[in-house]
């Protein structure tokens, strides 16, 4: 199911050029903010939870998911270089699964690791907050990667659509419309974080069983459908 050559090409495309800079910018910003907050307010569990929940999990993780998920396949489809993968005796789901693994790994490294560091800086993992949000980031990385990889496979406007989902749906609607929160990767991952953290600082609108089912369902369905779409992907000519 996993092809090391496809993985190598995807890693190099993702981590090369400008994309690596964008991927690195947000985590850096998170750590800078954390150092500044810690310096100004000292170690405070509530503040740590606000920064990690409000910036790391609500903004940084989905944006990195968009960049890695759509970037793992979208540019290749756009510029046509995907033809070099498609013209090989290689099952389409293998291509998608491999790219998913790469997108997940990149999203995890660029979102969960800085979340952990920021958590340790903010309150030294008091009440398990750093670990809880890190696990939430890891879990969200999987679902976001699958969702945005699918978007990158089906749409030429994947980055825009992904950002609209991440920022408008999850951040804006999520805070205004209670129902929207149920259908939010962020809330599902928070349900997992809630289980890990001590106390009631980390909360979710979704119960853990529902969240787990939805996380698995979204990941599996998105990956399956992306494989299906790639099988019937047509490369239009220049004409």
């Amino acid at each position: 199911m996993y092809d090391p050559t496809v993985a190598r090409l995807t890693y190099r495309a993702l981590l090369g050029r400008r994309r690596a800079l964008i991927l690195g910018a947000l985590p850096l910003l998170l750590i800078v903010i954390s150092v500044a907050v810690r310096g100004l307010t000292g170690a405070d569990d509530q503040t740590a939870s606000d920064v990690l929940g409000g910036f790391a999990l609500a903004t940084m993780v989905p944006i990195i998911g968009v960049i890695a998920g759509t970037g793992a396949i979208g540019p290749e489809i756009d510029d046509g270089s995907v033809v070099y993968l498609l013209s090989k005796p290689l099952k389409r789901p293998v291509i998608i699964f491999t790219k998913l693994i790469v997108a997940i790994a990149v999203t995890m490294v660029f979102s969960a690791v800085p979340t952990m560091i920021a958590g340790l800086v903010l309150n030294g993992n008091g009440q398990q907050i750093a670990v809880a949000y890190t696990i939430a980031a890891l879990v969200a990385s999987i679902a976001y990667s699958a969702l945005f990889l699918l978007l990158g496979t089906v749409s030429r406007h994947a980055v825009v659509l992904g950002l609209v989902y991440a920022l408008v749906w999850e951040a804006l609607f999520g805070s205004l419309v209670p129902g929207a929160r149920t259908l939010s990767v962020q809330q599902w991952s928070l349900a997992v974080a809630h289980k890990v953290a001590e106390g009631e600082l980390v909360t979710s609108d979704v119960g853990l069983p529902t969240a787990t089912v939805l996380l698995v369902a979204v990941t599996v369905l998105a990956t399956w459908y992306a494989g299906r779409k790639l099988r019937s992907l047509t490369l239009a000519g220049e004409e």
């Binding site: 013209s87 000519g237 004409e239």
Partner: protein, 303 residues
């Protein structure tokens, strides 16, 4: 030895018919797919390569369907027209990756790079390559698994004459080895130099198929139209129409010129200056009015 069969294939995009009921069989040797820009060549090649589903009809390679059949790529090498090709890799890395995707290794990649004579630049990044170098590395990536069918979409576009000659030699060699090589082009001379067998596509339709010389003759034997201005148009017209090489003359009063239709191209071109000299007429303009490739093609479609 492979045979690619296109059987009553049509493809439309919305209301636009790009390929219209085309049936052709491509066998071993070099075949040229000739047609003006926008004729549907790329659409056809994309369907031959399994990157586009025919709206109706079937494309098969030795009886196996090409669409949605990944296994068929063990036998097909594709050289796409588009430039994009993982520019951040070196030529060698690119060809090795292509070999690995076929389950082969660095040895096969080295052999393919040697075939296209690109070893000297194989460790440079593809982004630094010229058009011709890119084309050769694409070629190496398509040859790496020793395919029996090679599909090339406008492979000579943007190449300089030397690069063009090298690629032609290579394709000729591939054809002589018994591979089925199909390349598309909108340039008559390119096809003439390389392919004995040609398939002509015009406006999505299959216009002609067969030996190049026969089709070329059909093209040169077609009525040629000329615009002629002279010091005495009417006397010239009378003298020209007396000869069987000319089938019709119109005096275009508004243009102040003759529109001559010649059926015997060779004979007419020697007749015109001779007749003019005999009658003491000065020729001011002699210009072919339908030499564009499109007009040659549309003649073929009508024939």
């Amino acid at each position: 030895m492979s045979t690619l069969s296109i059987d009553h294939v049509s493809r439309w995009f919305g209301n636009v018919v790009a390929v219209n009921d085309v049936t052709m069989t491509i066998g071993p040797g070099v075949t040229g797919l000739l047609g003006p820009n926008g004729a549907g060549k790329s659409t056809l090649i994309n369907m031959m390569g399994g990157f586009l589903a025919p709206s109706t009809g079937t494309v098969t390679l030795d009886g196996r369907p090409v669409w949605r059949n990944e296994a068929v790529y063990k036998h097909i090498g594709v050289v796409p027209e588009r430039e994009a090709m993982y520019d951040f890799l070196t030529g060698r890395e690119f060809v090795v990756a292509n070999a690995e995707l076929h389950g082969l290794g660095a040895k096969a990649a080295a052999r393919a790079l040697a075939t296209v004579e690109m070893e000297y630049a194989q460790d440079r990044q593809i982004s630094t390559y010229s058009k011709g170098m890119r084309q050769r590395v694409k070629m190496a990536s398509a040859l790496v698994h020793d395919p029996s069918l090679l599909l090339l979409d406008e492979p000579f576009n943007g190449m300089d004459p030397r690069q063009r000659m090298q690629l032609m030699d290579l394709l000729r060699r591939m054809g002589d080895e018994g591979r089925t090589v199909l390349f598309s082009s909108h340039i008559l001379e390119e096809v003439e130099q390389l392919a004995r067998h040609i398939e002509v596509v015009v406006a999505g339709r299959h216009a002609a198929s067969g030996d190049f010389r026969r089709i070329r003759r059909l093209m040169t034997d077609r009525p040629h139209r000329y615009l002629v201005r002279s010091s005495d148009d009417r006397t010239l017209a009378a003298a020209l129409i007396a000869d069987p090489s000319t089938s019709g003359i119109e005096v275009d009063v508004a243009e102040g010129a003759l529109r001559v239709q010649a059926v015997d191209f060779g004979r007419f071109t020697t007749l015109l200056p001779k007749v003019a000299r005999e009658h003491g007429i000065r020729l001011l303009t002699v210009s072919p009015s339908d030499e564009s490739l499109e007009s040659v093609f549309s003649y073929l479609v009508a024939a």
